[in-house]
C-alpha cells in the first residue's frame, strides 16, 4: 500500500453511467491485476474504493460507474485535478493458477479488472477466453479493447440486444473446455458462475462497503470456509473452495 497524489489526465465517457479515467502517479505499490485503489474526494469523509482496470509504471486506468454522489463527483473532476490515492490494496488475481483453459467472466462494471488481467495473461502466453455480460447493448463497453488483446470474446446481454440473450453463465456453458474462472461482477452473478459444474476451481472478486480499505477497521469482513476474511485486505479475490454463499447473500 502506498499513499500518494495522482493527477487526473483524462476522462472518457463510455456509456450513460460509465467512464474511463486515466491518472498519472506512482503505481509502484500495485503488484497484481484485481487490486484496487481507495480515492479521497473533497467533502467526502470515506474514500471510494475503485478496482484497477490497468496500469503502467506512471499511470493508472480506472473504469468508474456512477452509483452515487461520490462516484459522480469523481467522474466530473477536470483534468489536472490532484487526488489523494491509497494504491496497491488487496490481494489481486493470481493468473499462474488458471490452468490451460481459463475463462475471465465479468458482469457490468465488474469487467474492469479483467482487462488488465487479460493483457497480462496474454503477455505471459496464456490464452484466456473472455465472457462479458451487460444489461443491454447500450450498457456494453470495452468490447474493442478486449478484442484487440486477441482474446476469444463472448458477450451476453439480458435483453439479447447484443450477443447471447441471457447471462454470462450462458456464454460459459457454451465453452465447456473452460474449467477455471477468474470472475468479477455483482454478487448474484458471482454466485451463478460459482455454481457452474464445468468449473474445477476459480477466483472471485468481491465488493463491499469499506471503512478504511487496508484491513484496519473490520468493516468489510465476510464469512468464509476458513473464518471471517476482510474483503479489502484478505480479498477482494477469494478462491472457489473458500466461499460460503448462504451467509453472504
Amino acid at each position: 500500500m502506498k499513499q500518494s497524489l495522482f493527477t487526473l489526465e483524462h476522462t472518457r465517457q463510455l456509456t450513460d453511467d460509465t467512464y474511463e479515467l486515466v491518472l498519472s502517479g506512482d503505481t509502484s505499490a500495485i503488484t497484481a491485476p484485481g487490486q484496487f485503489v481507495n480515492i479521497q474526494l473533497p467533502g467526502r469523509f470515506l474514500r471510494r474504493p475503485i478496482s484497477i482496470c490497468n496500469w503502467t509504471d506512471q499511470a493508472l486506468m480506472l473504469l468508474v460507474k456512477v452509483v452515487g454522489d461520490g462516484t459522480r463527483e469523481l467522474v466530473r473532476c477536470v483534468p489536472g485535478t490532484e487526488l489523494d490515492v491509497l494504491s496497491g490494496l488487496g490481494n489481486g488475481f493470481d493468473p499462474a493458477r488458471a490452468g490451460a483453459h481459463p475463462v475471465l467472466a465479468g458482469g457490468g462494471i465488474g469487467i474492469a479488472p479483467l482487462y488488465g488481467l487479460a493483457q497480462r495473461m496474454r503477455d505471459a502466453g496464456q490464452a484466456p477466453t473472455v465472457a462479458l455480460g451487460f444489461r443491454s447493448a447500450k450498457d456494453a463497453f470495452y468490447l474493442e479493447e478486449f478484442a484487440s488483446l486477441g482474446c476469444r470474446l463472448l458477450i451476453a446481454t439480458e435483453d439479447g440486444s447484443l450477443g447471447t440473450r441471457g447471462f454470462v453463465t450462458d456464454c460459459i456453458r457454451n465453452v465447456p473446455e473452460c474449467d477455471y474462472v477468474l470472475c468479477c461482477g455483482p454478487l448474484p452473478m458471482l454466485k451463478a458462475v460459482h455454481s457452474l459444474p464445468q468449473l474445477t476451481d476459480g477466483q472471485f472478486s468481491f465488493e463491499a462497503r469499506m471503512g478504511c480499505g487496508f484491513g484496519a477497521c473490520m468493516g468489510c469482513s465476510i464469512p468464509t470456509r476458513d473464518g471471517y476474511k476482510r474483503v479489502c485486505k484478505d480479498g477482494p479475490i477469494l478462491y472457489k473452495e473458500e466461499i460460503v454463499w448462504r451467509t453472504c447473500l
Binding site: 484496519a216 473490520m218 468493516g219
Partner: protein, 305 residues
C-alpha cells in the same frame, strides 16, 4: 521545542497521541506504513473472552463529516490475542500498550483483565463498558452508574495495572457515570465511544447498516466529545483520555484544553492512515503557538482564568 510527554495514572507516554481502539487493529496494517514507536501508545482492538465474528454486512455507512460502523466487536478472543498478537506487537511497538477489553458479564470483564496481568507490555487497561450485560436483559453496562461502578470494581479487584473506563456518550449525564467509576476506584477515564445513529437507503427504503444502527464517529462528533470531556473534567479528579472526531493537532490541543490528559485519534486513521504521524509532527508548532513549554500544561487550561 516543547516537551510532548504526558503522564496517565503513572504511565509515561512520549506524547499524548494514541490511535483509538477499533481503528488500529493490533497495529499490523499501520506498521507497514510507519514506525509505530513515534506514538504515545496505541489502544488495541476491543477484545472479548471468546472470539466474535461480528455483525452481518453491510457494517459501514457514510454521513456528512463522519461514518457509522456496526462491526460488532469482531475479534479473535483474549487468548488468541495474547498468543498471536502480543508477540507481534512487541516487534512493531516497544512503548506502553493500552489493552481495550470488552465483556458481557462482570466475570468476563474480570477474567479478561486478569489474563493480561502477565503481559508486561500492556501498561493500561481500557475497559469498554458499551457492551450489553447478558445477565441484565442486555442493558448496556455503561448506561447505568451502578453497573459501570460494578465493572470498575470487578476489574480493579484482579489487576494492578491502571484501569481506564471507556464511557459511552449515549447517556443522559455522562458526568454521573464518570463519578460512579471514579468512586469505584477507576484510575482514569476514556471518552467518548461512538454515538448511536443510523442511515436509511432511499433505494431500498431500509437501513443502510444490516444491524440497523451503528456508532457515529469522525469530525461530526468532535464538538460533542469536547463538551463531554469538559463536563467530566469538572466532575472528576482522575485523568481523562479525550476521544471523538480528533483529526488534527489543533483538535488534540482543544481536547486537552477541555480537560484531556491524552488524546485518542479514531476514524481519522481510516481515511488517512498517516493521521497520527501527521498530528504528532504538528504538535510542537501548536504548543509554540499556544505558548506552552510542556504540552501537559494544556490539560484543563480552558477551565481556568
Amino acid at each position: 521545542m516543547a516537551n510532548l510527554s504526558v503522564n496517565l495514572a503513572g504511565v509515561e507516554l512520549k506524547n499524548p497521541i494514541i490511535p483509538a481502539s477499533g481503528t488500529f487493529g493490533y497495529g499490523r496494517e499501520y506498521a507497514e506504513l510507519y514506525d509505530l514507536n513515534i506514538l504515545g501508545s496505541f489502544s488495541w482492538k476491543g477484545t472479548t473472552g471468546a472470539a466474535r465474528l461480528g455483525n452481518p454486512q453491510p457494517r459501514i455507512a457514510e454521513t456528512a463529516g463522519g461514518m457509522l460502523n456496526a462491526v460488532g466487536l469482531q475479534n479473535p478472543g483474549i487468548d488468541a490475542v495474547i498468543a498471536r498478537e502480543v508477540p507481534h506487537i512487541a516487534e512493531i511497538f516497544q512503548g506502553p500498550v493500552i489493552a481495550n477489553v470488552g465483556g458481557f458479564s462482570l466475570d468476563e470483564y474480570a477474567e479478561n483483565c486478569a489474563k493480561l496481568n502477565d503481559v508486561d507490555q500492556v501498561a493500561i487497561l481500557e475497559v469498554n463498558i458499551s457492551c450489553p450485560n447478558v445477565h441484565a436483559g442486555g442493558k448496556n453496562f455503561g448506561c447505568d452508574p451502578h453497573a459501570a461502578a460494578e465493572v470498575t470494581r470487578a476489574v480493579k479487584a484482579v489487576t494492578n495495572k491502571p484501569v481506564f473506563m471507556k464511557l459511552t456518550p449515549n447517556v443522559t449525564d455522562i458526568a454521573e457515570i464518570a463519578r460512579a467509576c471514579e468512586d469505584a476506584g477507576a484510575d482514569g477515564l476514556c471518552l467518548i465511544n461512538t454515538l448511536l445513529g443510523m442511515r436509511i437507503d432511499l433505494n431500498t427504503k431500509r437501513p443502510v447498516i444490516a444491524n440497523r444502527t451503528g456508532g457515529l464517529s469522525g469530525p461530526a462528533v468532535f464538538p460533542v466529545a469536547l463538551r463531554m470531556v469538559w463536563d467530566v473534567y469538572e466532575a472528576v479528579k482522575i485523568p481523562i483520555i479525550g476521544c471523538g472526531g480528533v483529526s488534527s493537532a489543533e483538535d488534540a490541543a482543544e481536547m486537552m484544553l477541555a480537560g484531556a490528559a491524552a488524546v485518542e485519534v479514531g476514524a481519522a486513521n481510516l481515511v488517512d492512515p498517516m493521521a497520527c504521524k501527521t498530528i504528532i509532527e504538528h504538535l510542537p508548532a501548536v504548543c509554540q503557538r499556544l505558548g506552552v513549554d510542556h504540552i501537559s500544561e494544556l490539560t484543563g487550561g480552558a477551565h481556568h482564568g
